[in-house]
């Protein structure tokens, strides 16, 4: 069936900010969908509040709305653009929920907009657990024993029937948010209450725990002629109970006979037909009882998902792209297989390799949260690796993680400790399993503790046995032996550690023996047809299929697995680098190991190597491809760390030199730069031990900011107010050494931070944007909201900042991007840090100004000048853009929401408008919060902020808010002539503020706090605000922004405007 002629314009709803459970896989799917529809001549209207996405680049749609994803805003977009259809299936749960709301509110009907991909009925049937369960029973499939409850009393009834252990799943949340396993009755009581609060419809499902069952997934596609194909099977290494996003997963399924696999496949066909997903992809999750093969259906997602992104990368079959084409009427047999170009999308990919995905966690950023895995997803990123065997892909994936391990790293533990630990699910439990084999345990013993399938365990055991042989026998002497270890996936570094030699010695030996990797292609068809797309992975076998060309080529190193501090923004820059260099006529080569990203889409770069970003793996590709340049400054800290070693190895690293990068990163060398230029820096020092640290602090005075060197995202960064805390930090928080000293800076109270992104071409420096942080200094720049142009900085300060930016760029001889953080205190400008690389704010600046900074930077690195590229002066937008950070606190119960120098946000949103207040309001709405219109505002601030709170109180009361305050703050307000109702702190007993909040009597919370005890005392206030989604701010500056936003939203309807219109010449 050909394309439908009645769909000429489509609204694509994006997934919004990156949050746990919804990451850049939806930029990947959204971008693919937008591209696929544009190709078909469909007018694409795109809505997404996340500026760091590729999909919101103006070139991927006719109209791009970087606006809050709310029903209200989407209604306005629909009213304005009148799309024929809305595609809700490529923007995660967010888009699906919004589409449902749009349909329910009658907007779609009113404007005659068809929901394509999945219809309302199908979404309801898949998402509503009772309807889903009923549907499964009707088609003869088994689902776990379960029941629903919408009150706590009902929950207790249901659990009596279902039994313990059981799983609690709130309805209609993403990433299993609010879910959990309850083993005891007490446990159940707590989690049921929490789950009820989490669900937007106050409903939870309580279901039988399938402890020890195996988990599988199938990715299914269907077209409107009812053709159904399975794209990929996935087996979770972790058994049921661990969210699939937090599990190590392997494709294809490894331990199913054909009979069992076909049972699953038959079920998938029945399910997608029963649920009624007309066109597109779905993900179905299964549990299998390993004792008898019994199959149960866990859930179905009637949309593309994290797993479908993984499946796309694992097979080469672009699920979202095909789903988009199916949604406008094509059938699978009418769509070309992009990899072979001569077969069709109507088939089931076959693969001839093994794919392993390992999630990455950031538990260390949330010390109050327990590092345990459950049915609620907690990972923040993932790496995928491909090998010809599971062992190879596993070890490649482990070294892709960048958590400091190069393989199945040894765990320092005792057998007793390990035995207890292995019974729980925790990040990298696989290392514990390996350790168990080092203790000589049997597969049966480890299986009994972990329920990991014996097949996986035996592979792990085989690696451990090989390690023992290496430890005993040293580096293999023959090429055959060396190759055998490499085929098992051992990296050079791991071999070096096991054999007690240097990595370089392994490499030398390996090269001397002639043991080099070959590159195989991912072709969707297990070599049955020729692959025309160079999408490759390394292995150690006979035949290499890389067939490098003789073209002039540039290689771009990606960012590896996402983590807090290094996420989609860097992938955005990498992708832009690729686009720009393609335009400039280069062949582009992408190296990355993150399956969620646009950079690892097979048609982003000319050639894609899905490989770990280690020196060894990158060097092998460089040797094979011989690029004229390698770009390390786009992918964040990951490739930057490789800059020095690559240059040493003779690789042409283009852009800013590794030495200049080091001058900026190394505190001592940077101090010299600052001194030489006569700039100002907060007083600082570098300490390699406790005594040195204390001496520095005594010299420069408390408070100070302390941090380890060479980190991104403010990892382990703290503000320290006295010697006691300093000692605790030096002893407990960081591993200090001569190679890794601790950096100490004087903390500038009450200063304003400013971020600058600029480009230098070797001679000229042009500022891309100057952003004023909204939160005061001391809060990590990634966590602070910011405004472009600056909200209230004097022009002469901005000018001074631009001058200093140019000086620093010249001194470091930057070629490409440069990001500088300044602090402004009074009339003084301080340089906080210089990053001669892409920064987190590059995509935001690009969207705020309309200047494609990353693209320009890539071409500058390749030798063009800014004049060539027509970018010789800063572009000053007429509108105001505000970036706001989005946090994962809701996923980690018990964690405080206070901000500090360590970055905790996972994503960002952008709001654009004519003035700051309106732009901030949009950003706030985009982040999922609300702008209160009136009611009671609760103020409770530190003694230090008592003066400043008066202006906040006055502002709020002018806007008609009633003020409620704790005693101290209330007194300050009263002194200033403001009426305030006094309420108890929680510790002072009932009736107190949290009760007031729970009763729904508070519309806004302003809560600043300082000092351990005060923070502890007030945590429940912030946590309650978070749980009940009451707008809150923990800074005075944030409070003022709220006031501006409330004032602006009070002045009339919020209209929508696309980026294309904002940036129209």
């Amino acid at each position: 069936m050909p394309k439908r002629n009645d769909i000429r314009s489509v609204l694509i709803i994006g997934a919004g900010p990156i949050v746990i459970g919804q990451a850049c896989e939806f930029d990947y799917s959204g971008t693919q969908a937008a591209k696929a529809l544009m190709e078909e001549g469909v007018r694409v209207i795109l809505a997404n509040s996340n500026p760091a996405t590729i999909m919101t680049d103006p070139q991927f749609a006719h109209r791009t709305y970087v606006e809050p994803l709310t029903v209200d805003i989407l209604t306005k977009i629909i009213k304005r653009e009148r799309p024929d259809a809305v595609l809700p299936t490529v923007g995660g749960q967010t888009a699906l929920n919004l589409a449902v709301d749009l349909a329910k509110s009658g907007v779609l009907k009113q404007y005659n907009v068809e929901m394509i991909g999945a219809n309302l009925e199908a979404i309801k049937c898949a998402e509503d657990r009772s309807l889903f369960k009923q549907a499964m029973v009707e088609i003869g499939l088994n689902v776990p024993r379960s029941g629903f409850a919408n009150t706590f009393e009902k929950a207790m009834e249901v659990v009596d029937r279902v039994g313990l252990p059981c799983i609690i799943r709130p309805s209609f949340t993403l990433g299993g948010q609010g879910g959990g396993v309850a083993n005891t009755r007490e446990d159940f009581v707590e989690k049921a209450k929490w789950g009820l609060a989490q669900s937007p419809i106050s409903e939870i499902m309580i279901e039988q725990s399938l402890l020890g069952w195996k988990e599988f997934e199938l990715e299914v596609m269907r077209d409107r002629k009812d053709n159904v194909v399975i794209i990929c099977s996935i087996e979770n290494l972790d058994p049921m109970g661990v969210h699939t996003g937090d599990s190590i997963t392997v494709a294809p399924a490894q331990t199913l006979t054909d009979r069992e696999y076909q049972m699953m496949r038959d079920a998938a066909l029945k399910i997608i037909r029963k649920i009624g997903v007309d066109t597109g992809g779905s993900n179905i999750q299964y549990a299998v009882n390993p004792a008898n093969g019994e199959l149960q259906i866990i859930e179905m997602n009637p949309r593309v998902s994290r797993s479908s992104a993984l499946a796309s990368k694992a097979t080469g079959f672009p699920i979202a792209r095909i789903a988009a084409k199916l949604s406008i009427g094509y059938t699978l047999d009418e769509i070309t297989n992009d990899i072979t170009k001569k077969t069709w999308a109507a088939f089931e990919p076959s693969i001839d390799y093994c794919v392993t995905k390992i999630p990455r966690f950031d538990f260390e950023k949330f010390p109050q949260a327990e590092a345990l895995l459950s049915s609620q997803m907690k990972s923040v990123g993932e790496a995928m690796a491909i090998g010809r065997t599971f062992k190879e892909s596993l070890q490649k994936a482990l070294r892709s993680m960048e958590t400091g391990i190069d393989g199945l790293a040894e765990v320092s533990t005792t057998p007793e400790e390990l035995r207890e630990k292995l019974k729980t699910s925790y990040p990298f439990r696989i290392l514990g399993a390996a350790q168990a084999f080092r203790f000589g345990w049997s597969i049966e013993e480890v299986h009994a503790l972990t329920f990991i399938d014996p097949w996986f365990l035996d592979n792990i055991k085989e690696i451990v046995e090989a390690e023992a042989a290496l430890r005993a026998g040293g580096l293999p002497a023959s090429a055959d032996a060396m190759r055998a270890y490499k085929q098992m996936g051992f990296g050079d570094r791991r071999l070096a550690a096991l054999c007690g030699v240097k990595e370089s010695a392994v490499r030398e030996k390996r090269l001397a023996l002639g043991v080099r990797p070959v590159y195989k292609r991912i072709d969707t068809c297990a070599a049955e047809f020729e692959a025309l797309t160079p999408y490759m992975y390394s292995t150690y076998e006979e035949e290499c299929e890389s067939e490098p060309t003789a073209k002039k080529k540039i290689m771009i190193l990606g960012g590896g697995p996402n983590r807090i501090g290094q996420g989609i923004e860097f992938d955005y820059c990498c992708v832009h680098g690729v686009f720009a260099l393609k335009e400039a006529g280069y062949e582009t080569i992408m190296v990355n190991c993150n399956p969620e990203t646009v950079s690892t889409d097979f048609d982003t770069a000319d050639r894609l190597y899905f490989e770990p970003l280690t020196l060894e793996d990158v060097m092998e590709i460089v040797d094979k491809e011989k690029p004229v340049g390698v770009i390390v400054q786009f992918g964040g800290q990951t490739p930057l760390k490789l800059a020095g070693p690559l240059e040493k190895a003779g690789v042409p690293v283009i852009g800013t030199s590794p030495d200049a990068i080091d001058r900026a990163e190394d505190r001592k060398r940077f101090q010299e730069v600052v001194a030489k230029l006569g700039l100002r820096q907060p007083e600082n020092g570098t300490a390699t031990n406790k005594a040195e640290a204390a001496a520095i602090c005594n010299r420069i005075g408390y408070p100070v900011v302390v941090r380890p060197s060479y980190v991104l995202g403010g990892r382990a960064m703290e503000i320290v107010y006295d010697e006691e805390s300093l000692t605790r930090y030096m002893v407990n928080a960081v591993k200090v050494s001569h190679e890794r000293p601790v950096l100490i800076d004087k903390f500038l109270n009450d200063s304003t931070e400013v971020d600058v992104d600029a480009i230098r071409d070797g001679r000229l420096t042009v500022v891309g944007g100057v952003m004023q942080h909204i939160e005061e200094a001391g809060i990590h720049s990634g966590d602070s909201a910011c405004s472009l142009p600056p909200r209230d900085l004097p022009q002469k300060i901005i000018d001074e900042i631009c001058i200093q930016t140019k000086k620093l760029a010249d001194e470091l001889n930057v070629i490409g991007l440069l990001n500088i953080q300044f602090a402004v205190k009074g009339n003084d400008v301080y340089v906080l840090e210089v990053n001669p690389r892409a920064s987190r704010t590059v995509p935001f600046v690009a969207k705020a100004t309309g200047v494609p900074l990353a693209k320009i930077a890539a071409r500058v690195m390749a030798g063009e000048t800014l004049a060539d590229l027509d970018f010789i002066s800063q572009k000053m937008p007429k509108h105001v853009s505000v970036k706001e950070a989005v946090f994962p606190f809701i996923k980690f119960s018990g964690v405080d929401v206070l901000l500090g120098p360590e970055m905790k946000s996972t994503g960002e949103v952008m709001g654009v408008d004519a003035n700051f207040g309106s732009a901030f309001a949009r950003a706030t709405l985009g982040s999922g919060s609300k702008i209160p219109r009136g009611g009671r505002a609760f103020l409770s601030v530190t003694e230090y902020d008592r003066k400043a709170v008066v202006a906040v109180g006055r502002g709020l009361s002018e806007l008609g808010f009633t003020l409620v305050a704790t005693a101290g703050t209330g007194a300050a307000l009263k002194d200033a002539g403001l009426a305030a109702e006094i309420v108890n702190k929680v510790k002072d007993g009932s009736p107190h503020i949290v009760e007031m909040m729970e009763a729904g009597n508070i519309a806004l919370v302003v809560n600043t706090t300082f000092g351990k005890q005060a923070i502890k005392d007030s945590q429940s206030i912030r946590r309650t605000a978070l749980n009940l989604n009451i707008p809150y701010t923990t800074t005075i500056a944030g409070a003022h922004s709220y006031i501006a936003a409330i004032r602006a939203t009070g002045q009339g309807e919020m209209e929508v405007r696309s980026l294309q219109e904002y940036h129209a010449p």
Partner: protein, 375 residues
């Protein structure tokens, strides 16, 4: 123990021994299925072939008598990247390696099976030898070249049953095993050119009392049996060489409903007057898309295993193509416009593979019902 695989064009792969030691000769072919190695090994259509699985990790779930498609391993040899050290499945009866050793099937492991597949894809399926005895490539090439060629080989007569027998087992279900005591409605004569058990099970499940006949059974003998329908099975080798069966089918066309699968389809094509030809490297796997023209142009994902195909250009006017391969447009199914005869090139019985096409067994019984069966 070292093992080598040498192809008739001189390409050699060195690996390690797997299964039995010794030498095995045959046509080297690849199968792209991700699961189902035991069904593949025991499928008589692989007679005379050295089979390589493109999926590198084989043997993970062991073997079980339930999954055998015939009484023994039929493939001449097995080529894999990495066999599993252990088996992990509740149904596993024994490891694959042991199963092969017990049946004296030679295998080779640890070779670059993707390179081998690419070689076969570009040069075509060819003869080869696996040897754990010698590694002189020249001598092995000579042996491979001296081996019989697949083109022109009548292998059906080697694998067919010696005497007629009845089959009464139905389909398998998890936790229940094979169904029994299904009430028969039709009397079916099944020609065994190398028949797979799951075909028989499907026929039984649909109410057929099945008697399996040797490949060279004449039309007269079948007539004496008085069947409601005749089934032509899959099997190995070149269909043109099975002249006796072609003759028998010619004689039976129009007399009973006839349904053919795979080699049976090719034999029917030849009986109808069409020609067959050898494909470059064949279709072997569980992911082959077939356009079902008859059902309104919908796509079926099919299990396939064939090295020969019916030439669509040579089909007489009274035969229509009902299915064709979406990958290379070759004929995958046909039916006679007036006579009760149809056939498919792929495997609706799956085993291994998807169950998208089991409908054909129902078509066969419906045809028998229409033609006077006791439905």
């Amino acid at each position: 123990m070292k093992a080598v695989l040498v192809l008739e064009d001189g390409r050699a792969f060195t690996g390690r021994s797997f299964g039995a030691a010794g030498e095995a000769l045959g046509e080297v072919v690849f199968n792209t299925g991700l699961s189902g190695y035991q069904e593949i090994l025991t499928d008589p259509s692989y007679t005379g072939q050295l089979v390589t699985m493109t999926y590198p990790l084989i043997g993970n779930y062991g073997v079980t008598p339930e999954d055998e498609e015939s009484a023994k391993i039929q493939a001449a040899g097995f080529i894999v990247k990495e066999p599993s050290r252990i088996v992990s499945n509740f149904r596993a009866a024994k490891p694959l390696d042991q199963y092969m050793k017990e049946q004296n099937i030679v295998g080779i492991r640890d070779i670059d099976t993707r390179a081998l597949t690419r070689h076969l894809r570009s040069r075509g399926a060819m003869r080869g030898i696996i040897s754990t005895l010698a590694d002189k490539v020249d001598a092995l090439v000579a042996k491979a070249r001296a081996h019989e060629s697949m083109a022109g080989a009548d292998l059906a007569k080697r694998v067919t049953c010696k005497a007629p027998y009845e089959f009464s087992e139905g389909l398998w279900e998890l936790g229940k095993g094979f169904s029994k005591n299904i009430k028969p409605r039709f009397k079916v004569a099944a020609y065994d050119f190398g028949i797979k058990r799951n075909i028989l099970r499907h026929l039984v499940e649909r109410g057929c009392a099945v008697t399996v006949f040797p490949a060279d059974t004449t039309a007269e003998k079948i007539a004496a049996f008085r069947p409601d329908g005749v089934f032509l099975s899959n099997g190995p080798g070149d269909p043109e060489a099975v002249t006796y069966a072609i003759d028998a089918v010619k004689a039976m066309l129009g007399k009973y409903p006839i349904f053919g699968i795979c080699l049976g389809h090719q034999i029917m094509g030849l009986a109808l007057g069409a020609k067959t030809f050898k494909l470059k490297f064949g279709h072997r796997g569980c992911n082959h898309p077939v356009m079902d023209v008859a059902a309104g142009r919908v796509v079926r994902i099919t299990s396939q295993n064939h090295g020969f195909a019916v030439d669509g250009e040579t089909l007489p006017a009274d035969v229509e193509v009902t299915h064709y391969s979406l990958n290379d447009n070759t004929v995958e199914g046909m039916r006679h416009k007036t006579l009760p005869a149809f056939s498919v090139q792929y495997h609706p019985e799956a085993s291994p593979g998807p169950h998208d096409s089991t409908v054909h067994f129902g078509q066969f019984t419906a045809m028998m019902a229409q033609h006077g069966g006791k439905a």
